[in-house]
Amino acid sequence: MILFFLSSALFLGWSLGANDAANVFGTAVATRMVRFRTAAIFCGIFVVLGAVISGAGTTDTLGQLGAVNALGGSFMVALAAALAVLWMTKAGLPVSVSQAIVGAILGWNVFTGSQTDLDSLIKIVSTWVVCPLLAAIFAAVFYLAARRIITRWPVHLLELDAMTRTGLIVAGAFGAYALGANNIANVMGVFVPAFAVRSIDIAGLFTVDSVQLLFLVGGLAIAIGVLSYSRRVMMTVGKGLFRLTPVTALVVVMAEAIVLFLFSSQSLESWLLTHGLPTIPLVPVSSSQAVIGAVIGIAVVKGGRGVRYSVLGKVVGGWAATPAIAAVLAFLGLFFLQNVFGLNVARPMPFRLSEAVLERVSAEGLASLSLEELKGKSFENARAFRVALVNETDLDGADMSLVMEFALSDSFVIVPELIDEFEPSLLTVGQTDALRSLEWRSFSHEWQLRERLAEETAEWALLPDDRENHQHNKAVRYRLRHVYDTFRVPSAEQGR
């Protein structure tokens, strides 16, 4: 059954390979500097490596946007995104899987009445502007530098050709790696919360966790997409918008690769953090946007002549249409899955203002009479609860989110056998001991479990969200999510 659900993600991976990944080597192949076969092989290998080795960075952001928490939902979200992508490809527009998947997750959120994390949404949508802009700036700077270098240090045409060729392959491989790392979350991200955490031992040599295995499979699907169907897109990207020379093709690939890398490198993020510099959000961005930004950047520096603005307009229109189409498709698809096939597309996330919740809320200084009136009431989903909060209370946005976080009902039992199944490398000794001390205890809210664990050891404690604690909190949240997923007691409805 899991394999069936994954099939839509593999379909999405394939279309990402056929479209987004084609962008990386598109200019190289279109200028005939690199053979299609060479490009496809390099691209395939490095996409898989990037996905498996550094894929985790951007998954968190998608996870925050909306935690698609049932396989049926994940299936439909991926399928809707893949169909939107396919549709756009048929229309001849460079596709952005990133936008499709965001649209599809929003569709899921609306359908299930889940809350959309506005911060994450803004973070992602702003990169849709920042990413092409950044690529354009990089490309313009690289182009000017390349022109200066070539004028100042004359290189023989043939040597320049050989260097450009080598540069294209190196930069393209780097770009493919960054694309794999950055975009694998688009393909497999929605399946991460739905998969249990188990490590797999490969011939006793090394272990991969389930996420890496998931990313490996997704990476392979992308690679197959590149090998089987990306040729036409490569030609379109490299020639459709603006005529590129081999050197400018290299500039485009370099600018794109760097932008993808910036948005997906966890090591860069921690380096920036330790040096007190502003960080770049780890968000899945679109290679189409990066490439088109880079091409336009060069065109502007060259005086803006020769750009086909009609093509550009269509492309940008496609970027706006993709998430909308994906959202609608996801909504309709989820409706069908749930009502026609009786599939479970979301784990219920009821809200309940119990005594304990009210106590906890007042500890935060948020006690209000109006909240007391909702005491003991249950709400089916986030939307219903939010409507009640808006109508019955005078809480503002931030406080409301806090109340919602505390009121989210769940059910956890710390089963000792499940502690044993934890991957030893995932938790510290102190964290494992803290879990053991809570054996057979049950909790009805995530925060109860979290705070109880933090009482046992500071290693489970979330520190104030500032730059210094960023990495610590990120690691703790990642582990907490695995703890929630492991010890959650499935509701009756879930077993359906």
Binding site: H156, R165, T166
Partner: protein, 213 residues
């Protein structure tokens, strides 16, 4: 990787060799005409033979360069231009060779008073060829070919002026018309070398614009 760069080096040296051949043909052409006009027929024939050998060698080089450029899909953007330039340069070599062959076969009777003008005409043709060769070398490195193209054009015009003067002088002579027409045809043949060089240089300037990144 090293394979790519090794091949590039080989091809580079072949193109250099081809341009050396072209330059040498220009120099030999001038010396051969001088030899003929000054009655050193043995030396003339030896130089004519050398030009023939250089032409064959250049042809082989050009074919090999063409084969490599296409087989290895090198310089995809400039390949057509480069081959066009090399092929047109071949026409310059041909013009020199054909002229010398005709001189050898037809033994035109050039009176001594025209020697200086004939040598001047040939010299300008040679200068145009030398500037063209330098221009092509520059094309491969910097794409800054304007100065060379300008000089080729200058020497071609100088050659035209001398050719016209020569023709007027020839036809003003009190000789048989057949003889005058025969001498006139050699003026035209020698002048072709500069004309061909100018044709290539024009193509070169267009290719240089396309070459800029």
């Amino acid at each position: 990787m090293t394979r790519i760069f090794a091949k590039t080096k080989l091809l580079e040296s072949q193109i250099d060799e081809y341009l050396n051949d072209t330059s040498q043909v220009g120099l030999l052409f001038l010396e051969a005409i001088k030899d003929y006009l000054e009655g050193r027929l043995e030396e003339f024939e030896s130089r004519r033979q050398q030009v023939g050998e250089l032409e064959n060698h250049a042809d082989e080089l050009r074919r090999d360069i063409k084969r490599q450029l296409y087989a290895e899909t090198l310089i995809p953007e400039s390949r057509g231009d480069v081959l066009g330039i090399l092929e047109n340069t071949d026409e310059v070599i041909n013009a020199a060779k054909v002229t010398l062959t005709q001189v050898s076969a037809e033994h035109p009777d050039i009176p001594d008073e025209l020697d200086a003008d004939f040598i001047e005409l040939t010299d300008y043709g040679n200068r145009a060829v030398q500037e063209l060769v330098m221009g092509i070398r520059a094309f491969f490195r910097t794409a800054a070919v304007t100065d060379f193209v300008h000089k080729v054009s200058f020497w071609e015009k100088e050659a035209d002026t001398v050719a016209e003067r020569l023709r007027r002088r020839i036809f003003a002579m009190d000789e048989e018309l057949a003889c005058k027409i025969h001498r006139g045809s050699f003026v035209r043949h020698i002048d072709t070398v500069a004309d061909q060089a100018e044709d290539v240089s024009e193509r070169l300037s267009i290719s240089a614009i396309k070459r800029s990144i």
